[in-house]
């Protein structure tokens, strides 16, 4: 099903009136994910994203963050995984067991980990693939201009083969491509991966701006809690396939364990050595 | 594949673990089967014997392909081309050098093996689909060579008439024994393997040898190396197995089998030319392997038997189709064979890609675990 294009949406990225009484647009209820019928990866995950929110999903490697995103976007099916318990709802519609392309057509667009551009297509063609699910010519053109406005570096690269862009440029194109679909919810998988710290900051600034200006809800999966918490409204922390902590970004940023574990700071704000962190990890488990 | 054994059958040593035949009743069964096959000409019709004969030759070719494709994971569309090499070599050895068929057979096998090795060389550089194309080129180049080059010897596209295999026995007390006849030219008693019920003894005997060898390859270090190359050549390399060397060995062995099958086929048909076996036969052999079950020692036997029988069914069905739709009189005979083979292969690929061997194991396991298994 194609997301109905209301006149307000047609005016491209115009700020939506945010209702404060927001019902969650995405709701994950107690899901369990199993790969290849045998490997249990997620157990009892529940989370929700409200209209216009930026939600971060934090956690170490292998905690199950990406799997959670794939469960939403349907890409799990491609990897022989399945949601075996619980359900995922988007505006009251069940997403689990829906093919990825159909999820995208509902208005949920995922920016895959590692950018994943169409390498032999040009920058502009890559952006246009994002709009393949739309059929309003004028609207697409407008969106394209909007993307170029968000990422001023891109117009100069428009006819360049995407595979030859730098990592940061590729990330911009990937986010721009997602925007071209005019999504209601954008899923970002580790946008900071492999980028220089300054670039990471830029990217998150733009994510913040997109959220504020066009009202797109965003769910970011990150290892880099520092930047992720800065841009987010609400955050969840995952470990070993479970959610172990959640709260507003401010609450989490204040949490002592988070500081110690993810931000690598001691109570007084000093950096800790790697050895200490490791020692700490062994001592302290979230689910002790 | 889980090994399902009757209760009480345990291994107490490595030697026992490697035993092929573990119980007396299996011996008895084996002896009965072999006896039944060897006495086939006594009770079966010539057409049945001829059919079994063709199945036997096909099994040998598929066994070779099984080493290459089933165990080592290299797909080949050239098996029939190497059969051509074997057929020509044995024929030339017999007609030009005057060798006996049984002396020519191993040399033909070796020659085919070496040529196969040559076409296996691209496997050093390419794999998967690209290798398929390299072997496909063998399927074109070898027949072309046989009909274009050395025309004086190979007689071009017309091909060669192949002599009937003969065993010569001495004359004892002015008598020829054992159903042989006197040959004035050599002053010996000759047994000619001319009719299917005579030729089948060659096929069966060779088949028993190749089966034993294949089975032993599959459970030796060589076989395990093949399997490791198939499953993950990088990991195999890390284990100290040179994947290229083993791929080439597999190519060589597969072509040796093809050479044997080709020599048998040529002698059975008494005629060989560049078109005797072709691309279609290579496809047929691969199909047999899939239908029977890749990488199992019973797979080639099941596959070759089923596919050949299906072809026979096509022949049987033809008059039926013609009665139903007389307009098809011309087409039906020609259509049914590829149609049935194609359909059977497609159904196997979709519904039972592990082939008949897998079914067979399920049945065997079910039988042994009776009454506990459903």
């Amino acid at each position: 099903m194609i997301f109905p294009l209301t006149p307000t949406l047609l005016s491209s990225f115009s700020p939506l009136a945010l209702s404060s009484s927001s019902l969650p647009m995405l709701k994950i209820n107690n899901i369990e994910v199993i790969y290849s019928d045998v490997i249990l990866v997620l157990r009892g995950i529940s989370l929700s994203v409200e209209q216009g929110q930026v939600v971060s999903l934090l956690g170490a490697n292998g905690a199950g963050k990406s799997t959670t995103l794939k469960a939403i976007s349907g890409l799990l099916l491609r990897e022989d995984g399945a949601v075996t318990r619980g359900n995922i709802e988007f505006d009251g519609q069940r997403l689990d067991r829906m093919a990825p392309e159909e999820v995208t057509r509902l208005g949920i667009v995922q920016v895959l980990e590692g950018r994943r551009l169409f390498q032999h297509l040009t920058t502009e063609e890559n952006l246009l693939t994002g709009a393949l699910i739309r059929s309003d010519r004028a609207g697409i053109k407008q969106s394209l201009e909007q993307v170029y406005e968000y990422f001023p570096a891109l117009p100069a690269l428009r006819n360049k083969t995407a595979g030859y862009l730098s990592g940061g440029e590729q990330q911009m194109v990937a986010i721009g491509r997602a925007l071209m679909a005019k999504p209601r919810l954008m899923l970002l998988d580790e946008p900071s991966l492999g980028l220089a710290p300054l670039l990471v900051r830029d990217i998150f600034d733009i994510i913040h701006r997109i959220n504020k200006e066009s009202g797109v809800s965003i769910m970011v999966v990150e290892q880099n809690a520092n930047v992720a918490l800065r841009a987010a409204d609400y955050a969840y922390v995952m470990e070993n396939g479970r959610i172990v902590l959640d709260g507003t970004a401010a609450q989490l940023a204040d949490n002592a364990d988070i500081k110690e574990f993810y931000l690598g700071l001691t109570a007084v704000g000093e950096r800790k050595s790697y050895r200490n962190v490791k020692h700490y990890k062994r001592r302290k488990r979230w689910l002790g | 594949m889980a090994i399902m054994r009757p209760s009480g059958d345990f291994d107490r040593s490595y030697k026992q673990d490697m035993t092929v035949i573990r119980q007396r009743w299996q011996y008895i069964l084996l002896i009965m089967t072999l006896l039944a096959l060897y006495t086939l000409p006594m009770y079966a019709s010539e057409a049945t014997v001829s059919l079994i004969n063709r199945i036997g030759i096909a099994i040998i070719a598929v066994q070779g392909l099984n080493i290459l494709t089933g165990y080592t994971g290299q797909i080949s569309l050239g098996q029939a081309a190497f059969m051509t090499v074997g057929g020509y070599t044995s024929t030339l050895l017999m007609t030009r050098m005057g060798l006996n068929f049984f002396a020519a057979l191993p040399i033909a096998a070796l020659t085919a093996g070496l040529i196969g090795l040559l076409f296996g060389l691209p496997s050093l550089r390419v794999k998967g689909f690209y290798l398929v194309m390299a072997t496909l080129s063998a399927q074109f180049i070898i027949p072309w060579v046989t009909r274009t080059l050395w025309q004086d010897t190979l007689n071009g596209a017309q091909g060669l008439i192949v002599p009937v295999p003969v065993i010569n026995l001495p004359v004892i007390a002015n008598q020829c024994f054992l159903s042989t006849t006197f040959n004035a030219e050599t002053a010996q008693c000759a047994y000619r393997f001319a009719t299917p019920s005579q030729f089948i003894y060659i096929t069966l005997t060779v088949l028993i040898f190749t089966t034993i060898i294949t089975h032993n390859i599959s459970r030796s270090r060589l076989g395990r190396a093949f399997i490791s190359v198939r499953d993950n050549d990088l990991a195999a390399e890390l284990l100290g197995i040179n994947p290229f060397a083993y791929k080439l060995r597999a190519f060589f062995l597969a072509s040796v089998y093809a050479g044997i099958a080709g020599a048998l086929l040529a002698s059975n048909l008494r005629h060989i030319n560049s078109a005797t076996v072709g691309l279609n036969d290579s496809v047929l052999l691969l199909g047999m392997l899939i239908v029977g079950g890749l990488g199992t020692s019973v797979g080639p036997i099941f596959g070759a038997a089923l596919v050949t029988l299906l072809e026979e069914i096509a022949v049987v069905l033809t008059p039926l189709v013609i009665t139903v739709a007389p307009d098809l009189a011309g087409g039906a005979t020609a259509a049914l064979r590829p149609l049935i083979f194609g359909l059977a292969l497609m159904l196997f690929l979709i519904f039972e890609p592990r082939g008949m061997a897998y079914r067979w194991n399920l049945i065997k396991a079910g039988w042994r675990l009776r009454p506990f298994a459903k």
Partner: protein, 318 residues
């Protein structure tokens, strides 16, 4: 060597590559989108061409040729869709061998179907182009024994080449300028990403099979107009297979250039004559090698440059 025939054979061979290019393109299209090498391309175009004949012939529907061609192409498109849906979609995720064997099995099955439906009799396909009176061109600048060199080009050959190249250009424009074309190019690059931007890749696979059926059939019709129609038509793909690999499995311009090069080489091996430097017998051997020269080129390509002339090396950059 027959030097005076060099331009003649080179150009004839080159033009012969035209219809082969269409068939090769069909194979590349399917491979690009779904990584399936379609060994049944020949049988698909056989059925498409036979249907076209049936719509046109008096024994069949007796329609005008243009209508018959349109209907024939429709049949091949539907056939392509059906094949993808019924036989290859269930194979998703299966190993390479299974998929290769599936298309080989399909080729057998379709051949059987074609015989069962249309019988074994040979057919005369309508001649679309003038059969006799070839184009005779005297070459500027080239002379042989002080005579200007002449090129004799069959009308059929020239026009078939023209139609084939027109199809190639249309196809290129389709990929470059249409949304479906863009979807197909995106799908060819990366299935997962394509799905994540909302492309229904199963539809794309279906479209590639349908398109491959159509352009293959155009090639089949072009060949049939020149030389009649018979159950052995599928063997034309045997020249297309190496052409595809020569050009690079995933490259559309590669398939075209590969086919033309294969045609060119096949033309050139016909050159040696009785005063060939290695002797008359060697000359005859070389002349008769035109059927295997594509496969010799194939072997060379595999050893020297497996990706082919224009094969996509994955752009590796992080």
């Amino acid at each position: 060597m027959n030097w005076q025939l060099l331009p003649q054979f080179a150009i004839t061979g080159f033009l012969n590559g035209g219809p082969i290019a269409l068939i090769a393109l069909g194979i590349v299209l399917i491979f690009k989108s779904s990584e399936i090498f379609n060994f049944s391309q020949g049988q698909m175009l056989l059925i498409g061409t036979l249907s076209t004949w049936w719509f046109w012939a008096e024994e069949g529907l007796g329609l005008p040729l243009w209508a018959a061609i349109i209907l024939g192409l429709t049949v091949s498109a539907i056939l392509g869709l059906l094949i993808e849906r019924l036989t290859l979609r269930p194979m998703t995720g299966q190993p390479l061998l299974s998929i290769i064997l599936m298309t080989l099995a399909l080729s057998q099955f379709l051949q059987g179907m074609a015989i069962l439906t249309f019988g074994t009799t040979q057919r005369n396909f309508p001649a679309i182009f003038e059969v006799t009176s070839p184009y005779k061109i005297s070459l500027p600048f080239f002379t042989y024994n002080n005579n200007p060199m002449m090129l004799i080009l069959k009308q059929n050959l020239v026009w078939s080449f023209g139609v084939a190249m027109l199809c190639v250009i249309l196809l290129w424009a389709f990929f470059q300028y249409t949304r479906t074309g863009l979807s197909m190019r995106a799908t060819a690059e990366d299935h997962e990403t394509a799905q994540s931007v909302g492309i229904r890749i199963n539809h794309i696979f279906g479209i590639s099979w349908a398109l491959a059926g159509i352009i293959g059939t155009v090639g089949g019709i072009l060949i049939a107009t020149a030389s009649g129609l018979d159950l052995s038509l599928p063997i034309v793909v045997l020249a297309a297979f190496p052409a595809v690999l020569l050009g690079g499995l995933e490259s559309i311009p590669g398939a075209v250039i590969g086919s033309l090069l294969i045609g060119l080489t096949q033309g050139l091996v016909a050159l040696p004559n009785n005063d060939f430097i290695l002797g008359a017998e060697a000359a005859q051997v070389i002349r008769s090698s035109s059927e295997i020269i594509p496969y010799i080129i194939l072997l060379i390509v595999l050893v020297i440059r497996p990706d082919g002339l224009f094969g996509q090396k994955r752009i590796e950059r992080i």
